[in-house]
């Protein structure tokens, strides 16, 4: 069973949740090039390792929240309220191998 740590409800079965998607940064509407929009639409990091995502607790508190999950082991190491948590900085922190801060707080930027 995969346990998803909802920031409100605590660890619950994954069947209560909907996976919204990998956290991606929306390009600036006024200045974005077609290439940037294409990347935003279609390209994901799709890593075999830690990734930052948005989840929705549809059969619970109905909150959207951010979470950090390992895509090979399906283990979560933290989650936080508010879907968007400055993804580029968070992803950069992931890529740089910055260790997790305490659970429930957004990644330090």
């Amino acid at each position: 069973m995969i346990l998803v740590p909802c920031p409100h409800c605590g660890p619950r079965n994954v069947s209560e949740f909907r996976h919204v998607g990998e956290a991606t940064a929306r390009p600036a509407v006024a200045s974005a090039t077609p290439e940037q929009w294409r990347d935003y639409l279609y390209l994901r990091r799709n890593p075999a390792g830690w990734t930052i995502e948005t989840w929705y607790h549809r059969a619970g508190c109905r909150a959207y929240f951010g979470a950090e999950r390992h895509t090979v082991t399906n283990r979560f190491r933290r989650s936080w309220l508010g879907g968007q948590v400055s993804p580029p900085a968070a992803v950069a922190a992931l890529d740089g191998g910055v260790e997790a801060s305490s659970p429930g707080t957004p990644p330090s930027t």
Binding site: R18, H19, E22, R44, A48, T71, V72, N74
Partner: protein, 433 residues
């Protein structure tokens, strides 16, 4: 970018040898004698250079290698796999073959694959156990029935045996099916596709491996690609855990790891990797003829030649590289299967597993050239890769040998995402994604 110069690769290797024929006479001779059966394919030391390095020893990679050697005489080829051949998607799928797609292009593409599968045992001199027992896609609502009528007409125009049938005919084909009207999702009809069926997927992998090996292709198992060397924007070498290989051409034929391999040369693929779970029951006497698929119930069932029932479902609703099964899946699957066939409630599930499916935004593969010269892709095969193995291998081999993209895969190019030409094949998979 045009892969110029690849046309010159067709030099023959020394030491071309014929594979030993498998025959009834050979069986008797080996049965009576003490001689060991010759190995179906050989192990080789890693050469310092190959004309083509194919990453991924599944049906796509091995078929590409086989057709490169058999159709184009290009034999200085290595197929490398980080595990054993056929250990990924090729050994984890539910082995269903069909061509009853929705668009004429899709129908023609998969029909070519069915035709290649039909003659594969003879071509490879290896019994791949293709059992064309028929394929039923059930309709549980008016919308599905309408789409099936549409598919049947497109199929018939393309010369494919395909027809919509009613509950009485379904009952005749599958007597154990509950076609009553007091179920949660009553069966209104089905798209019946007699040439569809199942195959021994391991045998397909082994047959292609044997055929490619006999023509001089080197198959390297336990050989993991760890990096790709480029000079300018061209591939010059493959770095593996067993050493460096100089090569002008690398073909990415992986499933599950496609984006990770492409990341090595900075080619970004619009792919997200999802697991797809399957399960198999204990073997019982033959009672189920055709393959039965229900999109509404997200399940497909077939009975193997050994008597086991093989179940598959749609992909898990979140990306993952995990290949473990889950209880949620088994519970849901059992509920849906019993809705169709209540009488098998006592059957026990023996095993469950997951395979990795590379899902693209339009549920169609990504095949052909990339912005990096000499780096080719045959990836993004989602939930429909196994049935396309032969035609994909044939087309990729033609592309590598001639430098020209064959017409039947031209629409699957990587550039379509940038240029807004997504493929509209809604019949890509039998169940929803």
């Amino acid at each position: 970018m045009a892969p110029e110069g690849i046309r010159l690769l067709g030099r023959q290797r020394d030491g071309w040898r014929r594979p030993s024929r498998y025959s009834a006479f050979g069986l008797v001779r080996h049965g009576l004698g003490r001689a060991e059966w010759p190995r179906a394919w050989q192990e080789h030391d890693l050469s310092s250079g190959y004309d083509v390095v194919i990453v991924g020893g599944g049906v796509h990679g091995l078929a590409t290698a086989y057709y490169l050697a058999a159709n184009h005489g290009i034999t200085n080829v290595a197929v490398i796999d980080k595990g054993y051949i056929g250990g990924g998607g090729s050994g984890r799928n539910t082995a269903i073959i069909r061509s009853n797609y929705l668009t004429p292009e899709g129908v023609r593409f998969y029909d070519r694959s069915v035709k290649l599968y039909e003659s594969l045992s003879a071509d490879l001199n290896f019994n791949v156990m293709f059992s064309q027992r028929g394929h039923l896609t059930l309709a549980h609502n008016d919308g599905s029935l309408r789409t099936m009528r549409w598919r049947a007409e497109v199929n018939k125009l393309e010369g494919i045996d395909s027809e919509v049938i009613g509950p009485e005919d379904i009952k005749r084909l599958v007597p154990f099916m509950d076609v009553s009207t007091d179920t949660r999702y009553p069966i209104l009809g089905a798209l019946y596709h007699p040439p569809g069926g199942i195959i021994r997927h391991d045998a397909v992998v082994w047959g292609y491996a044997r055929g490619a090996d006999a023509r001089g292709v080197h198959i390297h198992q336990n050989t993991e690609l760890v990096g790709i060397e480029t000079v300018g924007d061209r591939v010059v070498g493959a770095l593996t855990n067993r050493g460096r290989i100089a090569t002008p051409v690398i073909v990415n034929c992986t499933a599950g790891w496609a984006t990770l391999v492409a990341d090595m040369v900075g080619v970004r693929l619009p792919i997200v990797t999802h697991p797809l779970q399957a399960a198999v029951t204990e073997p019982v006497k033959p009672f189920l003829g055709p393959v039965v698929v229900s999109g509404t119930l997200h399940v497909y069932v077939s009975q193997t030649d050994r008597g086991e029932l093989v179940f598959g479902a749609s992909t898990d609703p979140y990306p993952s590289y995990s290949m473990r099964g889950s209880l949620d899946f088994t519970e849901e699957l059992a509920g849906h299967v019993l809705e169709l066939m209540p009488s098998i409630a006592q059957l026990r599930v023996l095993r469950q597993w997951a395979g990795l499916c590379d899902i693209t935004p339009d549920f169609s593969p990504v095949m052909g050239v990339t912005p990096v010269g000499g780096f080719f892709v045959d990836v993004g095969w989602g939930t429909y890769g196994f049935k396309a193995g032969p035609v994909a291998g044939e087309a990729m081999a033609e592309l590598l040998a001639t430098g020209t993209t064959p017409e039947n895969i031209a629409g699957f190019d990587l550039a379509r995402f940038a240029e807004g030409r997504l493929v509209g094949e809604k019949g890509a998979a039998a169940v929803g994604h």
